[in-house]
């Protein structure tokens, strides 16, 4: 909780070369600059124009990130984080993006955490996005609107129950739900590709709801 000892530091600007952060990110995550009034855990913010690489092995290779300015906004107030702030700068070993897990950050939509979410899930026999799914899609759509030219592939999947052909259609419907919402958020349809694998590419091989839930999904691939 904010206390009177908080003070706001001016944002510092560093180039990517100085920070050498990319070495330590297995997934390069797009994110946006946080408004400095955000009060939560320390986050290192990177602006990577058009430089996204999918983590899951799917999708096209992204162009190399261009040199951009990085704005670091240390966020005040939480005990112990000021130490982390100090060591975070220039210390490669500690340099990691910390996503925002605070779901109550309604104004900016959760930023990094939602963009880090590359999979949205669905209920049985449904292609309707859940509230969580919609939030993630919105974050991706917002990113896509800033990262002009980037293509996205939406892979639809289904759990094993029922017939394979119906599941092929259901999985496509799920991918289209995500595509439609992205378009509603202003992403041009030409940048979005959908493909359905039905139940043919499960990520979880069990025969119970724990596995089925994980397989009823759309993967967002850059």
């Amino acid at each position: 909780m904010p206390t009177s000892s908080m003070r706001k530091s001016p944002p510092r600007r560093l180039s990517l070369r100085t920070l050498s952060l990319r070495k330590f990110l297995s997934c390069m995550l797009p994110s946006r600059t946080l408004p400095s009034r955000r009060l939560s855990s320390y986050a290192l913010v990177l602006l990577l124009g058009g430089a996204l690489a999918g983590c899951g092995g799917g999708g096209a290779l992204a162009p190399a990130p261009e040199e951009v300015e990085v704005e670091i906004n240390p966020v005040e107030g939480i005990a112990g984080d000021t130490d982390a702030t100090a060591t975070g700068l220039g210390d490669d070993s500690a340099a990691q993006t910390q996503g925002l897990d605070d779901a109550s950050s309604a104004d900016s939509g959760g930023g990094d955490a939602l963009l880090a979410q590359r999979v949205v899930y669905f209920e049985y026999d449904s292609s309707a996005l859940t509230a969580a799914g919609q939030a993630a899609v919105r974050a991706h759509a917002r990113h896509l609107r800033t990262a002009t030219g980037t293509q996205v592939v939406l892979e639809g999947h289904a759990d094993e129950r029922g017939t394979r052909e119906y599941n092929l259609a259901l999985a496509e419907d799920r991918a289209k739900s995500v595509a439609d919402l992205m378009q509603a958020f202003g992403v041009e349809s030409g940048r979005i590709q959908t493909v359905s694998y039905g139940e043919e590419r499960p990520v979880a091989l069990g025969h119970d709801e724990a596995s089925w839930h994980l397989n009823r999904r759309v993967e967002i691939l850059y």
Partner: protein
């Protein structure tokens, strides 16, 4: 065009581990007790598939016969003159099968058999076959068909084939489209791919298989000639190309295409290349199935909110809903006589194979399992083969259309799915 990772092959020596074995899990009390005596061997004969073993397995898995145990066959007559009917009546056999196998000078085999009525003490059928060694099993299946016909009045379906997809995990994941005898023997791989294969469908003349292949990283429909291995890319539109189904005259393929925005039933004319769209609805429409007279197409649609079976005239017209019970009805297949539609149904007990009756418009569940899919009729309409799970392993099973008998075909390695039962063979 063939991708390097694909093999189109008719392998003549199938891998040993691909043989299916059969367990009969439930029997019928009305099964006919029948004694099948091992066929006498005339002259030196290489041990091939013993006809009596093949016939015994065939008749047992139909559920309509109860073959006597081999140990009870103390008497093994090889000639009708040696038959003592009283002994067989004491063993409570109603019918007796005897026969001989001889190797001819040209290397072929001559098989003779007689089917005898134990009570009336007379011959019901007798025939002679001359076949090469590779066709010994086929001759035995034809004998089983004759026995089935004579004793039940219905044509047997033992001399038939099945197509199915087998998934191998090592050394790397491979999908194999295979064709085997309907008892699982003699599997031949007709397509091997690192990507999924779905929905094999037999042409009515039994010479071609249509199927869905993901070899190009998305669904496309091919039609392949089983004898030559040649294949045609039939549908590669944007979106889904799925669920191919041959018209009864073999000239058209119904299919599900989502190129216009959502999956719709289309009919593709194989001769002219014409494509005609049949359904017009924003919902999912897929899994077309032709009625035997070619006039109607049943299909799956979730336009009501859940997947249900509908029918539409093949010439075009209004779709009419058929199924109203359960929250899931899909995978329709017409019976050969057109009176029933097999389907996958969930009436609250999981996904089971069921039978929809056109006459009384109701669905009967035929299985008690929960993960069933892909029902396919034997060409005599007496049995349905389907894919299911036994102990978390994907296997094929078959159930009689009265639901009373079932057998499981167990692949010795790998997982099996997507069975399709062939029509009656037209090639000799």
């Amino acid at each position: 065009m063939t991708a390097p990772a694909l093999l189109l092959a008719m392998l003549l020596s199938p891998p040993a581990q691909a043989v299916l074995t059969i367990e009969v899990t439930r029997g019928s009390e009305a099964a006919i007790p029948i004694a099948i005596v091992p066929f006498a061997r005339v002259g030196a004969i290489a041990e091939a598939d013993a006809p009596a073993d093949v016939i015994t397995a065939d008749l047992r898995r139909s559920g309509r016969f109860e073959p006597l145990a081999r140990e009870d066959l103390a008497n093994r007559p090889d000639d009708i003159s040696a038959v003592q009917y009283k002994n067989w009546r004491l063993l409570q056999a109603e019918a007796l099968v005897i026969g001989t196998v001889a190797q001819l000078s040209d290397g072929r085999y001559e098989i003779r058999f007689r089917l005898l009525d134990v009570f009336r003490e007379q011959q019901l059928a007798g025939q002679k076959f001359v076949v090469p060694a590779a066709r010994l099993r086929k001759a035995a299946h034809r004998i089983s068909d004759l026995i089935h016909q004579k004793l039940t009045g219905k044509r047997g379906a033992f001399d038939t084939r099945i197509a199915y997809v087998s998934v191998q995990e090592s050394p790397r994941k491979r999908f194999l489209l295979q064709v085997a005898d309907s008892d699982g023997h003699n599997p031949k791989t007709i397509l091997e791919s690192p990507q999924p294969i779905l929905s094999p469908a037999w042409s009515p003349d039994g010479n071609r298989l249509a199927y869905v292949s993901f070899e190009k990283k998305r669904s496309m429909i091919y039609a392949q000639n089983l004898w030559s291995g040649e294949r045609e890319l039939v549908a590669s539109h944007d979106g889904i190309n799925g669920a191919p189904a041959w018209s009864p005259d073999g000239t058209r393929l119904a299919m599900a295409l989502s190129k216009d925005g959502n999956p719709e039933i289309h009919i593709h004319d194989l001769r002219s290349g014409d494509l005609r769209r049949l359904t017009r609805h924003t919902a999912i429409d897929t899994e077309p199935a032709w009625s035997p007279d070619g006039a109607t197409i049943a299909f799956t649609s979730n336009r009501s909110g859940t997947p249900q079976i509908y029918r539409i005239p093949a010439a075009g017209g209004v779709a009419r809903r058929l199924t109203f019970s359960g929250n899931y009805n899909a995978g329709a297949q017409y019976s050969p006589d057109g009176e029933f539609i097999a389907l996958v149904t969930n009436q609250g007990n999981g996904h089971r194979v069921g039978l929809y009756s056109a006459a009384n418009r109701s669905i009967t569940e035929l299985t008690q399992t929960t993960q069933d899919e892909s029902p396919t009729f034997a060409p005599n309409g007496e049995m349905l083969m389907y894919a299911t799970q036994v102990g978390a392993i994907n296997v094929l099973a078959a159930v009689s259309t009265d639901g009373r008998v079932r057998h499981i075909l167990r692949l010795q390695s790998g997982a099996v799915r997507e069975p399709a039962w062939s029509p009656y063979n037209r090639k000799p």
